[in-house]
């Protein structure tokens, strides 16, 4: 812990893309991910280094096969890099056990998916409670916390609605409430508007902007430029490497990276 903190401090002193005096939340150091498919190997990520600051709003872009999904899986602690080091919230995940990764995901990361991934025949409130059931220790005020998050996403009146009784946008809001319920540091959204119409997409993106302004780090993986426009920073992947990394304006030390 202290060793990695020292490493982080070292890196912060020669920070590249990240504005100084903003703490780093995610640090990738020459990470590679190599898959074996039959007798050939696929280098999905090839020596990527990047830092993402706390409170930033980042869009990760790239065509399919570019490595953006692999990067997302690593940032989401769903997987470990083949080589290199990856710190999430000051913790090196490269050598974590799968239980440690699960606990890290539970405490640090909130996932939002393109297909919402809600449980069938389960009321909204229970959908949102789900991550709390896996929390260690298990909080006592599950329902209150879940209700609060559903109110936050504007679904306070639909606590007992089933997914089949909700519109696509509402389902995604339930999923966002679920992602938020454990007070994660990172909100990681994979094509969050891919299954939604334009108007609903805008509403969801507005919600992400609001959340980012409240301090949560938002990372959106998308191939839609319109969606990426909402982010402060845009990282483009191609062939397992970062080919473009642009910031639309400097990251403030306080507040978020969203456009006002």
């Amino acid at each position: 812990m202290s060793a990695s903190a020292t490493v982080l401090a070292e890196h912060a002193s020669r920070a590249g893309a990240v504005t100084q005096n903003v703490p780093t939340l995610i640090r990738a150091e020459a990470i590679s991910k190599i898959y074996r498919m039959g007798d050939q190997t696929v280098r999905a990520l090839d020596g990527v280094s990047l830092d993402i600051a706390k409170g930033d709003y980042v869009a990760i872009m790239g065509s399919s096969g570019s490595g953006k999904s692999t990067m997302m899986n690593l940032i989401g602690a769903l997987d470990r890099p083949t080589s290199g080091r990856l710190w999430l919230d000051n913790r090196d995940i490269a050598h974590m056990s799968s239980d440690e990764l699960a606990d890290l995901r539970n405490a640090t990361i909130g996932f939002v998916f393109q297909q919402f991934n809600l449980l069938a025949r389960t009321p909204a409130l229970n959908q949102v409670i789900l991550p709390l059931l896996y929390a260690r220790p298990r909080p006592a005020d599950l329902e209150a916390r879940a209700r609060h998050r559903l109110e936050q996403v504007g679904l306070g009146q639909r606590l007992d609605h089933l997914p089949s009784q909700l519109s696509g946008g509402q389902q995604q809001r339930v999923a966002i409430a679920r992602a938020l319920v454990n007070n994660p540091k990172i909100l990681l959204a994979d094509e969050p508007t891919g299954a939604l119409d334009t108007k609903t997409s805008e509403e969801i993106m507005t919600l992400f902007g609001d959340l980012n302004r409240e301090g949560i780090t938002v990372i959106i993986v998308t191939h839609e430029p319109d969606i990426a426009e909402h982010a402060r920073r845009k990282i483009v992947f191609r062939d397992g490497q970062v080919v473009d990394d642009t910031e639309r304006f400097p990251l403030r030390a306080t507040g978020g990276g969203a456009l006002s």
Binding site: A102, D103, R105, F111, N117, P131, Y134, N182
Partner: protein
């Protein structure tokens, strides 16, 4: 995650596929129900046999004349030398521990009271008979020694005969005609119930041995002092095996049977004989229990099959649960709890079904329903174990899923 959380999750999952869940549990339902039925009916039957053993009279030996040797060598009971009053006296005086001894010489014939008549067994007995057979006279009195000596025309009737001839009226003091000879009814025997072979033991009339021999059973077929079969009750401290040997030695001497020749009489411990039947019964029970164990295994395979289908169908859900922080052990536990819950629900339905069917069978067979808590606990434990054993493989498969691939699956 608490156990309650897991149970709630399992319940939600099972309810969302209600029909499939019910059909899946069917194997367990049948397995558990048959365990309950077989054990209940089996032990009911056994307790019935035990009751019959008790109804024979305890610590008792029976001596029959005639050989019952198999292999076709026996000459048939009628040709053998019958047991006599002298044999009775000899056994009573020379064998240790005899408490009571009585002959029973059986014949049959009609008994009449007014318009009511009934054909029944007529048994000549000694005054000790009711003591030997633990068969008290509930109304009226037993025979007296005086009546025995005087060949008195007195009778003690069984419950069935009493009901047939007197309905609700008290037979004691009434006169009935036995083979057209008037007899005074002096007593009514207690109810004994059916014998192990289903014969109604209460369908008989007891007469003093001397009376029966002289007039009722039929002079032509009777040796002057024959007593039919002998029932001998022993003191509690006596080993019936020793007593049996003593009687055999005594009778061989009295009948002058050469050493090495076969007995022309039989000394039987009927209780032992019945116990052997009980053992056959329990062997049957175990055999049938094994059959229900097989149906539990088949039911378990059904559970495993459906759980595997469920894991495949819910791969995305598993991926999501892992993404939001479910550890492999959490996923494993969820599916195990689901399989066990499925089995326990099946077990509960099976118990209800089994208890119902056992009650019906017991009622039809007039056996007591014997459903002990331990059998129910055993059945539930068997159901739960089935869930754990057959749920383990699907659960492990679910827990071993890669969250990325699981989330990507269709």
């Amino acid at each position: 995650m608490t156990l309650l959380d897991s149970l709630m999750m399992a319940w939600t999952a099972l309810r969302s596929n209600l029909l499939r869940s019910i059909l899946t549990t069917l194997g367990i339902v049948i397995g558990v129900a048959s365990v309950i039925i077989l054990v209940a009916v089996g032990s009911g039957a056994r307790s019935e046999v035990e009751k019959q053993i008790a109804s024979l009279g305890s610590n008792m030996l029976v001596v029959f004349s005639g050989s019952s040797r198999v292999m076709g060598r026996a000459a048939g009971a009628g040709t053998e030398l019958p047991l006599s009053e002298a044999d009775l006296v000899a056994i009573r005086d020379k064998v240790d521990g005899v408490v009571a001894i009585s002959g029973q010489l059986n014949g049959s014939g009609p008994v009449v009271n007014g318009n009511a008549n009934w054909s029944t067994t007529l048994s000549g007995v000694h005054p000790d008979f009711t003591a030997v057979r633990d068969w008290p006279v509930v109304s009226g009195r037993d025979f007296t020694a005086q009546e025995m000596r005087a060949s008195a025309k007195v009778a003690i009737i069984g419950k069935t005969v009493a009901t047939q001839l007197f309905q609700e009226n008290d037979p004691v003091g009434a006169t009935i005609r036995v083979k057209n000879t008037p007899f005074l009814v002096v007593g009514v025997l207690d109810t004994k119930g059916p014998s192990s072979f289903g014969r109604d033991q209460d369908d008989l009339v007891l007469l003093p041995m001397t009376t029966a021999r002289g007039q009722i059973v039929g002079k032509s077929q009777v040796q002057a002092d024959q007593v039919g079969q002998l029932y001998i009750k022993f003191d509690n401290g006596i080993d019936l095996k020793d007593a049996q040997e003593d009687i055999e030695t005594l009778l061989r001497q009295r009948r002058r049977i050469e050493p090495g020749a076969e007995d022309n009489f039989n000394v039987r411990n009927l209780a032992e004989f019945m116990k052997a039947r009980t053992e056959v019964l329990s062997t049957m029970t175990y055999l049938l229990a094994a059959t229900s164990a097989i149906s539990l295994i088949v039911g378990g395979i059904g559970i495993m099959n459906i759980m595997l289908v469920s894991v495949t169908e819910r791969t995305r859900e598993i991926g999501l649960r892992m993404a939001v922080g479910g550890r492999n052990a959490d996923i494993m536990r969820q599916f195990l709890v689901e399989a066990v819950t499925l089995c326990l629900i099946g077990g509960l339905i099976g118990i209800a079904l089994g208890v119902g069917v056992a009650a019906i069978v017991a009622n039809a067979a007039k056996w007591p329903v014997l459903i002990s808590p331990s059998v129910i606990a055993l059945a539930m434990a068997a159901a739960a174990a089935t869930g754990v054993i057959f749920g383990y493989f699907p659960a492990r498969r679910a827990a071993a899923l890669n969250p990325i691939e699981a989330l990507r699956s269709e």
